[in-house]
Each structure stands twice: as C-alpha cells, then as structure tokens.
Amino acid sequence: MRRRFRTPPRRVTAVTAVAALGMGLFGACARDVGSAGEGPGGGGGRRTTVTIGTFGVFGYKQAGLYEEYERLHPGITIKESVIERNDAYYPQLLTHLAAGGGLSDIQAVEVGNIHDVATTQADRFVDLSRAAGVRADTWLDWKWAQATSPDGRTIGLGTDIGPIAVCYRKDLFAKAGLPTDRAGVGRLWAGDWRKYLETGRAYRRRAPAGTVFTDSAAGIYNAAIHGYAERYYDRRGHRVVGRSPAVRESWNLAVRAARDGLTARLKQFEKPWDQAYANGRFATVACPPWMLGYIKEKAGPAGEDKWDIAPAPRPANWGGSFITVPKAARHRKAAVALAVWLTAPEQQARLFDRQASIPSTPASYAMPQVRDARNPYFGDAPTGRIFSAAARSVPKLVIGPREQQIGTAFTDVGIPQVEQQGRSPAAAWKAAQKEIHNAVDE
C-alpha cells in the first residue's frame, strides 16, 4: 500500500530510511534527545509540551490547528517531529515501542501498518474508544474497525482516507473522440475496471500522437485492489495472496493494460513520471485527493484547464492514517485530548480545506469546507463531493501483517517485470510470489 504524501526527493529516500531505522532500532538507549520536557523550569504556570510524531506532511501545523489548540488550552505547547517517509518512520516506531522509550506523546500510524500495531502491540497503546468525546460512529465504520484490536480495543483514531477518483485530460479525450464531461467520462467505466481498459483501447485507436491512456500498470493495480474487501488476507486473518480473487483480478487488469500498450510504463513518483506530466504523455491516472497538488505542480501552467476529475470505476481507498497515544507517552492525558480534538470532524474538514486530505469522519462531508470545495486547476471540479461520495462507498477493507512488503512484491517486482522488462505474466507472477515468500518468512 502506498504511503500518503509520497513525494520526497528520490536520492535520499532510502537514506532517510536507514536514518530512522538506526534511530528507531536503538531508540531505547537514546533517552529522549529532543527533550519533550516541561517548559521553563520552576515558576508558576507549568507548561505541558505535547509531542506528536508523524511521517510526511500531515498539515496540522500548516492549517493552524496547533496554534488554535494552544490558544484554546493555555499551558499546552505542541511540538511536531516529522520523518519524511513511512518506511523510515514505522520501523523506528516499532523499536521505540519495544523499548518503551523515545516515543512521542502522539504517534501517527499508516493504514498499511495499523493492523500490525492493533494486533501485536495493542497493549502498548491507550484504548481511545474510552476517551472522553470519542464515539465510534463518528468515523467511517471500516476506518474505525481497522484500528481496533481483536479484543475490541481501538488504539488509533482515523485521520484522513484516500478514496480514489480518476484524473483525466479533457483535451486528449476530446481528440480521441471520447466524452469530456465528468459525468460522461465516469459513465464510460462505471462499475468495472475492465471498462476502464476498454476505454483505454478506444483511446488507443484514436490517440493523439505521443500519448498513451494511463501512466502505469502498477497504478491500475493499486486502484483496483484497494476496492476489494479481502485482498491479501481473508476475514479470519489467513494470508491468501496466491489464491485471492482480488489479487488475481487486479493483477490481470494491470498485466492486460501493460501488454495492450495502454500504459506509459512509468514508475509513480519517479522523475520520469514527473516529466511525463510536463510533457502531457498520458491521459488518465487514478488519483486519491492528495495527488491533485502533485499533478498541478508537475503538469504546470501548460496543464491548466486540461485536467479534470471523474469518479473511479469502483470505489477504493488508497492510503490514509491514524493517530495513536502510546501508554508510555509522557503526557498521556493531554495527548489523548489533543488526538481527539485533531480528529474531530470540524478539524478534519479544515484540514481538507488546506491539505486536500479527505476526512474519515462522514460528518465532515456536510461541512462547507468539504461540501463546497472545488479545485480550479481541475476545471473547477467539485473535489469535496467527488471524493466524499467515493469515501462513503469504500468497502470495509481487511488488512493484515506485512501489507507493504506484499504490495510492493506486485507493484515493484511482478508488474514492472511484465510492463518494463517484457517478461511473461506467468514468470512475473512467480517472481512476485517468491518475493513475498522471502520477505514474509513464516
């Protein structure tokens, strides 16, 4: 599963990963370097510094939420520490947990990891379902369920989610003789990703020179697989990768798209992908809301008024996060209060306004910041309505351990072997299975 806001500079990503890992691994020994201590010593008004650790840009600070909370709660200071990538952040969190030290008062957890945390580490976290002001039905039911342990403790409150739409180029669609209005485009493939590929083949027949239908086969795979309730694990928690219909169907779609030449054979979030936006190389891309800013920046002014957003064939969720409070938190009570406040519908709506992260609390969708949101770059598309509609119909996803390693075995190994290296789907499938076997090791 993709991390949200996956946009760090390429050359450092892995390096940052080591960094966090090194730190994480032995964070136990590091007795809090960035001392989350009390404020100015002695004196009267003791200040409590609540620390919050996130991966990527969560936007709380940018949206002014910390500032407001500090104003509402004199005596509280909020300090945020950000690690750019989740594959650096998560291992660090694990080690800190194991060591019971070095933790922030609030720790973010990505959706791909929430299962591990909720099942294997639940007793290291505060059960937030009992916190004051928390009601399960505030959140989308599947979001709530993901952070709930088998014995019913909910250790994380949902922040954003990543419902998928399809971003498409109106101008290219027009040249290819396809409809260009949102509703019309949505109808082309409504209900089935196979229709999306059919549209792709129609596009290919009359494609403007130098363009292809979509960016990458892995993108299609991600968009498709996240629309199934059971993917790599069944409801009883058994790994079913090899025989899961969801995996099979998504795989077939991706492989089909690659072999039919519908993709630009790109790796998402890599430089050539950026360059392809700038050069207008492909006509569609499956896009969660947080990708809109990326497209706008990379496609640049030349793409102004050319892009638009249509509903995806099937609702799916790609990414999203939780915030948790470890039991070892220094200011547990203050942290819980802050976590509850940050994830309340009002604050989530404001975050959408600022950050385009779709709230996981349905009540937010009726708020003006979400309901009336439009994106001028994408032809004034009503992004709030499009994405919240998608959010409501996302199936209740079953997630399991090592989602990330399993996911990348398909998106970074199996699919590119077919798409970029021209290997047979059967061989690539086998390679992906082998990759999973090596990574999971049970």
């Binding site: 730190m23 590091a30 936006y277």
Partner: protein, 270 residues
Amino acid sequence: MRAGPVTYAVLALFTAGSLFPLVWTAVTASRDNARLARTPPPFRFGDRLLTNLGTAWSEAHMGLALFNTVLVAGAVALGTVLFATTAGFAFAKLRFRFRTALLLTTVGTMMVPPQLSVVPLFMVVAELHWTNQLQSVVLPTLVSAFGVFFMRQYLVEALPTELVEAARVDGASSLRVLWHVVFPVARPAMAVLGMLSFVQAWNDFFWPIIALTQENPTVQVALTGLGRGYVPDQAVIMAGALLGTLPLLLAFTLFGRQIVGGIMQGAVKG
C-alpha cells in the same frame, strides 16, 4: 617525451567527461522545475541559478551545515592523521606484544560492510547520549583502520630505522622521536591522509544521516531535507547538490596543485 596533438585530444575528451556532469548539475540548477521535465533537456544556463541556490541555502540550513561540515571534516582529518600516524609508527617500527594480532585485526575491520556496523554503532552513540551532536559523527570516523594501515605502509619504507635508532641513542624520548623524526618524514603521507579523510568526511552521508538531524546537520544531511513537501523541486535539489560540492571544488581549484602533488607523493610509498 613531449605530448602530441593526439594526447591533448584524448586528455580533452576525458576532461570533458569528468567535468560535464558537474557543469550539467549547474545548468539544471539554473532552470526551473518545469523546464527540467521537458525535452530536449536544457544545455544552456538559465537565469534561476541564484534563486535556486538561495532557496536551497535557506531551506537546507546550509550556513549551519557548512559550518558543521568544515568542523567535522577538519576534526576528522586532524584526528585521523594524528592517531593513524602514531599507531602506524608503532606498527611499523616498534616492537610490542600482540603487534601482529592487533595489526591484523585493524586490517580485517576495513572489510566490514559499513551498512551493518551502523546498527551497533548507533547503540554506542545512543548510550553516550550523543545523538544529534557533532561528536557522534566525528569520533567514530576519527579512527580509520585504513589510515593506520596506510601510515604503517608508508613509514615501513620511508622512515629509515637507523634514524630512529640514532635518536634513541641520543637519549631522545619517544615523544621527541615522534615529533622530530617521525612527523617530518611522514608529512607527505599525513597530508594525503588528511586530504582523503577530509573529502571522505565531507561527502559521507550514510552514517551522519543516522546520527544527526536537520536541526544540526552536516551538508550531506542537510541536502536530504531539500525539496520536501508535496512536490519535490528538482532544480532546487540540483542547486543543493551543487552547493554541497562547490566548496570542495573550490578547494580543488585553489589548492589543486598541492592536492595532486600530495596524492602522488603519498601514493608512491603507500
């Protein structure tokens, strides 16, 4: 033997090859993000070099980073040279118990893949509460097994044993021998080792990025914080890469003759 035109042509070709990636880094750093994405790639300088350098400078806390890096690289170079010379001298010319065993151990550890020492190394640093402090980067690199070995190899041949003996006969203490006999002889190799260690420390990122953060970075660490946010800005990243390399390039241009001379002098014996 005088060089003919062919020699010059070949040298020019290789020089161009050596310089091109650097020049092109500067070219990309002088453009904007959108231009970098288009084809054909830019060949000429644009007008945004200063803007991008400025952005990179402020975004990456480059001032502090450069200061830190000079400090770290300088300390590493000095310390490495000093410790390696004394130890190298002992291994080359003095007799003591476990000499061979110690030397072999030293040489052996040069072969440990650095990726893995990082983990236990961090344990040590964390235990000492050194994370995010410069000494966490300086001290572990201060002792280079290569340095000791390098100095030993040099001194075995370059330092005449009679010279040491003569000093001894005159009743000179070990310190005096070190200062008046060993150091003068070892100077060229010390210069080379110092230069090698300095460049190495300057460009090292694997370990510093683990021990330090953006709050107290070296140049390479600072560069990893560049262009963050939703959308990486390629031009700014290239500008940052340029900023990180520029000081060394400048030093190479200014002291090129001495550096090259040093490498060559050290290499003959080393």
